[in-house]
Subunit: 418 residues, 2 copies
């Protein structure tokens, strides 16, 4: 890496406060109107570097990784390749000498269409915020302990529907489903309690061997990067269906992800110790056993807007369970990882009232609706509502590392089948 790149300068003349600066360099998959074949891109400022085109000239030994136009081959290639490609891109964009070769390969961000950046293999959704789980437990099980007895012993999770993970911007059709009315009637109707869940997703790169658990210390060899996730949830459908086998149609209609995957290599300055755990978890989940290990807490600040109005700023650093613990738990029974497995954190909620990552928390289950600047109120989402989740994290030298955004607008329900 050249001195220029190491010091975070670039010949692009970027505002140093730009969330997609030289220290971020997220990967995505794009097309342009005149070139419909998918290409891998790297976001830099308000431009996109065409990595599929650039690699042929600048990284010829690795060009095959980008030919298909999705991140799948890069993800599968493992940490040495991830580091080599990131160093090369940092050098191209940081060192004035590459300007002539690289500048023609930049596209205005506004001119590209962004797609699902990788093929989702299995999608697992966790439940790792103590504040969120406690708040929901109080609502759904008012007579018992808010947390189930297992909650502090293991990172609870379940498999979601990989086939309905969609990229940011895809309209979200209000789901129809069974629910039980307060009078006890079972009806098929459009969900009346459509909610968001603001989450962070961890993307698996290197697969693991069947039958071989992935210890905490190996998480960084398997996890490539992070994206933002909106795990849309129909609370009325979910409430009726979820006992005893868990959420199904209340979640499976759509899960939106941000188009840019930020490599974990960009989040070194965001590493932070997770909250203390009591009781101390079993050794395979105990991340305090090795004091020299890099912590897996991440100081990301999420921001949720509804129709442009800020409604919440959930702090990811408050999450009880880390992605490394989730990976260790997911594989402790011998289950293997595939490239493209997506591990979502579960709703990110902090302790404060403006730090909750779902409307069911922000509105006390709809009982205390939010008031928007136009005077309208929201317990849950209405047709036409648009939710945007963004996030950033501390970077080197006071910079910020942006995670981009995941955006979705609610479309009216399709009339249900007869």
């Amino acid at each position: 890496m050249t001195a220029a790149a190491r010091h975070g300068t670039t010949w692009l003349g970027l505002d140093p406060a730009h969330p997609f600066g030289i220290h971020t360099l997220p990967y995505g998959s794009f097309t342009t109107q005149d070139a419909p074949a998918r290409r891998v891109g790297v976001a830099i400022g308000d431009q996109v570097l065409d990595l599929t085109a650039a690699a042929g000239a600048l990284l010829p030994g690795d060009a095959a990784l980008f030919a298909a136009g999705t991140l799948d081959p890069l993800l599968a290639a493992g940490p040495d390749t991830w580091a080599r490609v990131r160093a090369a891109v940092t050098d191209w964009l940081g060192d004035e000498r590459h300007r002539t070769a690289v500048e023609p390969l930049l596209r205005p961000a506004g001119s590209v269409d962004l797609h699902l950046p990788f093929t989702v293999a299995d999608y697992v959704d966790f439940y790792a915020s103590e504040h969120h789980a406690t708040a929901l437990g109080r609502m759904f099980r008012p007579d018992g302990d808010p947390l189930t007895p297992n909650w502090k012993h293991l990172p609870i999770g379940y498999h979601g529907r990989a086939g309905t993970v969609v990229p940011s911007g895809t309209p979200v059709v209000r789901p129809t489903g069974q629910r039980r009315t307060p009078e006890g009637n079972v009806v098929l109707a459009a969900s009346a309690r459509l909610d968001i869940e603001a989450e962070v997703g961890f993307v698996v790169g290197t697969p693991s061997t069947p039958g071989r658990p992935v210890p905490l210390a190996d998480a960084g060899r398997h996890l490539f990067g992070v994206c933002l996730v909106n795990d849309w949830s129909a609370r009325d459908i979910q409430a009726w269906e979820y006992v005893p086998l868990g959420p199904f149609l209340g979640k499976s209609f759509a899960t939106s992800v941000s188009p840019w995957v930020v490599p974990l290599a960009a989040l070194g300055h965001a590493r932070t110790a997770p909250p203390p755990r009591d009781p101390r978890p079993l050794p395979y989940l105990d991340d305090t056993a090795d004091p020299a290990a890099e912590p897996w807490g991440l100081d990301l600040t999420l921001r949720v807007t509804l129709n442009g109005h800020p409604v919440s700023a959930p702090p990811f650093a408050a999450m009880y369970w880390t992605a490394a613990q989730q990976l260790a738990h997911l594989t402790v029974n011998g289950a293997s990882l595939r490239t493209g497995d997506l591990l979502a954190s579960g709703t990110v909620s902090g302790p404060g009232p403006g730090e909750r990552g779902s409307l069911i928390e922000l509105t006390a289950n709809g009982g205390s609706p939010l008031t928007l600047p136009d005077g309208s109120t929201r317990g849950f989402l209405e047709d036409g509502d648009e939710v945007v989740i963004t996030a950033d994290a501390p970077g080197p030298g006071g910079t910020r590392i942006g995670l981009g955004e995941v955006r979705g607008r609610i479309a009216p329900a399709v009339s249900s089948p007869s």
Copy 2:
């Protein structure tokens, strides 16, 4: 189709009672020791027709469907293609005139290695046997109703781990996981209550459109065929983890499937009316509304052996919810289907004591162990135990349609991480 094929004769001189006769013709994916590239095969008697090789000469317009050696392109091609290919294969194997061309393309079944026949997209496991759900409800919730209030209103299901679906014969490593001891201690240990679940899997061919529910009447356009499924279950891991978000590590270590996918076209004689439902389900699930519609109950008889000893004969015709209802429910919220989606029925259990598809039922939760011919007893599975599930169904003219088998042997647990 020629008269010979139509009448179920074949130049192969098969025993008419063979479960892989001319009326079955299941599809699989195989290799041979001298040819490691995957090929699509059709089982006929104790031989395998190399369809990848045959199609080039006999079905040239469709040869591309078989070039990759998995069923994925055939599944995606839809019902007209399924019918055309099945008619052609029936003709080749039924009409003496094709003998010279086809005979060289037959391999002894014992000489081929069988693989996962298709790429599993999303794996959904249902819970469709009233007898099974009632038995488990009595064990796990002895103080309440055995069935949850939603059970007779909707086919309960959840997403499983697609990445750990393995073909028959793959060793099943005993999973390690968290459980709570009777004394209330939380420990990490090899599962001591490892069980089977004998199920039938329905394989999705034609994808569906996002946002568009698949009505009952369209199920046959999307469902290609059936396989056998053993949904291995660690009851102790499951019991500790499953509240509130459902089964996870208790199931995700392995799910075994049979290598031969029997097309629904082979199961016309097995169609039977499902049991009466009370209460009558909502219209989108009401398969009694059109009396002229072909019923989706299937008269399959499963047989479970443990170390060669028959332990159960679960009747699939007793299932409360059909695959068509499961498909209608799965998509009623707008969730789309992908080629390769696998819908497993849930444990197949009939009302009789010898008709239960899991050991937890057959042994009263381990309290009444089975005695094997060698005098040993089994509450749950021991290392080295081998479970084989087979099934067949009525075919035309008194023949039987075989579903082949799904086989798995328990390997000892891997020592757990420190």
